[in-house]
């Protein structure tokens, strides 16, 4: 029995096995991120519609665990990636429009002056993030 466990752990640590697990973790991360974005967008337009059926905390915790596992395993396997230029991504304008729609939906029933304040704050934050990303890329 002890030999079987030792053999199992040895097989688990086999590089190909670890690479397989790493690739599967990436797929899991994609699935969890996809579910999380669907949840966020749906909740933005229909509050409580999905969150009453899905355990959001478990979803977020699972995503965090998978991302940490990817990081740790990547470190162990000595895998590196080049920095992606976010500026050149074609999905950025679409994402910005989506953020604005979600934000607009959430502040629809606020008084006008509060709306203007929140939108100004958000635009400023978006601008700061853009500058940080630009600097990082340079």
């Amino acid at each position: 029995m002890k030999n079987k466990i030792t053999l199992f752990i040895k097989n688990l640590n086999h590089k190909q096995n670890l690479l397989l697990i790493y690739k599967l973790l990436y797929d899991m991360a994609f699935i969890l991120l996809f579910l999380f974005s669907c949840l966020t967008i749906t909740e933005g337009f229909l509050p409580n519609f999905l969150s009453s059926h899905l355990n959001v905390t478990s979803l977020i915790l699972s995503l965090l665990i998978v991302l940490v596992a990817i990081g740790k395993l990547g470190e162990k396997l000595d895998l590196h990636y080049s920095i992606i230029s976010i500026r050149k991504k074609k999905s950025i304008p679409f994402l910005v429009v989506l953020i604005i729609l979600l934000l607009g939906s959430s502040i629809l029933k606020f008084p006008l002056w509060e709306n203007l304040l929140i939108i100004s704050g958000m635009l400023y934050l978006l601008f700061i993030f853009y500058r940080i990303i630009l600097r990082a890329e340079h």
Partner: protein
């Protein structure tokens, strides 16, 4: 496609394993999404009650299991072979499956039936005596002047005494003699220097009521007008405030008032405020949007906020129901419904739209018979009731009445409300989703 780790190339044997595992992962995700969609479109709700937990435990989502005289059941024992309980849920369901697990030393169920009716929980309360006029009301009947004080009608000994106290004839509402019979008779007012309890005053633009020799301030003009007409208050100057001490407590808006602050809506009753969690719940309770009063923080601040729970939410004291079938009106007070009989009596209470109900729903019931569950080790019996016949009744409360043989002791009750997967329910679900979307963006409320 969707290959996020293109640069990591596995050996052929491992690549094959990866392909299989990846397919299983994505298939599992698709299956999960289908199951989620099924649960959303054809929802089911499960409610429970365990006699081993505290009655007030959050895990007990079935309300008030009791016997036929509304006494709570001790340890699940049925003293009169009857079991009553309520479930409050939102939505339309095809059927309900009720499961009962018997306790230790219980007889088996040989003859158990269950019936269910649908209405508003408050309307299912027992009927009490008809209600009389409120304290402070000024009434003229059969040539005599009356004030309602401590629930009793107190006659002024003469018109002179009435006028010496500061009242005028125009302040009294003429009523039929039979409208006064619902207030007990109190002592005649013979002293022109002593104001009876309940007298209303207007002092320096603020309204007060006299109770036990103390003046209670109405928190706002609206609070006064939600209960009384403006002409019922005796006008006095500020020196009058020196005659009586001011009470610490204030009088708020009338029980049953719908008030809003910002985007939150509350029902106010007996110094408590009950938050209404969504427009759907508001409409499900039969309230009218035009009755919502935009309150200020001072008016709502005197009320103690209550936690919201759809299972425990019922129309509070002060709510008025109108029976569409009999055209009778009822007010809820102390877990009883009291009929309001009389035109002027009704006018004195009805400041907002009543909640519409149909008393015929109380006689519209559906039944089933309990059968033993075979695929379980526990002593468990189930009964499935189709709900189609009562689905259109107004209300969100299902009252179940079970009748059994003697010697039954219950350990747990569960109620599962199901939606059958068919085209009609699919259309209903989609139209509910559309309605939620429209309601969410209806900024006119």
């Amino acid at each position: 496609m969707l290959n996020f780790t293109k640069k990591i190339i596995l050996e052929p044997k491992w690549q094959k394993r990866y392909t299989i595992l990846r397919s299983l992962l994505y298939s599992g995700t698709v299956a999960f999404l289908f199951v989620l969609a099924y649960i959303i479109v054809f929802p089911s709700i499960s409610l429970n009650y365990s006699f081993s937990a505290r009655a007030s435990s959050n895990k007990n989502t079935i309300s008030d299991p009791r016997n036929s005289d509304n006494s709570a059941l001790k340890k699940g024992v049925l003293p009169d072979k009857k079991l009553l309980f309520d479930t409050t849920i939102m939505g339309n369901f095809s059927d309900a499956t009720i499961n009962i697990v018997l306790g230790k030393n219980s007889n088996q169920i040989s003859n158990g039936t269950l019936s269910v009716k649908k209405s508003y929980r408050a309307f299912l309360y027992p009927t009490g005596d008809p209600i009389g006029f409120k304290d402070g009301s000024l009434l003229f009947s059969d040539g005599n002047f009356y004030i309602i004080s401590n629930g009793e009608k107190r006659q002024f000994a003469s018109q002179t005494i009435m006028q010496d106290l500061g009242f005028s004839i125009g302040m009294f509402t003429p009523i039929e003699k039979n409208e006064l019979i619902y207030n007990k008779t109190g002592n005649t007012i013979e002293d022109a220097s002593a104001y009876p309890n309940g007298t209303l005053f207007l002092i320096d633009g603020e309204y007060y009521q006299l109770k036990n020799n103390q003046l209670y301030l109405f928190v706002s003009e609206k609070a006064f007008l939600s209960r009384y007409d403006a002409n019922l208050a005796l006008k006095k100057d500020s020196s009058f405030l020196e005659k009586f001490p001011l009470a610490d407590d204030q009088i708020g808006l009338a029980d049953g008032t719908l008030a809003s602050i910002g985007t939150s809506v509350f029902v106010l009753s007996k110094n408590k405020s009950y938050s209404i969690s969504s427009p759907q719940v508001f409409e499900m309770m039969g309230f009218n949007w035009s009755d919502v009063y935009q309150a200020n923080s001072e008016e709502v601040g005197i009320y103690k906020k209550q936690k919201f729970s759809i299972q425990g939410f019922t129309h509070p004291d002060g709510t008025i129901f109108e029976d569409a079938q009999t055209k009778n009106y009822y007010i809820i007070e102390n877990e009883q419904k009291h009929q309001i009989i009389g035109t002027e009596l009704l006018k004195s209470y009805l400041k907002i739209h009543p909640v519409l109900i149909d008393s015929a729903s109380l006689n519209n019931t559906v039944n089933c018979t309990f059968k033993k569950d075979l695929l379980t080790l526990r002593d468990s019996y189930s009964c499935t009731i189709p709900l189609k016949k009562i689905m259109t009744e107004k209300g969100n409360d299902y009252q179940f009445i079970g009748e059994f043989n003697s010697g039954i002791r219950i350990s747990q009750i569960s109620a599962i409300f199901n939606t059958a997967p068919n085209i009609s329910n699919l259309r209903n679900s989609l139209s509910n989703i559309k309605a939620s979307l429209i309601s969410n963006y209806n900024t006119t409320r």
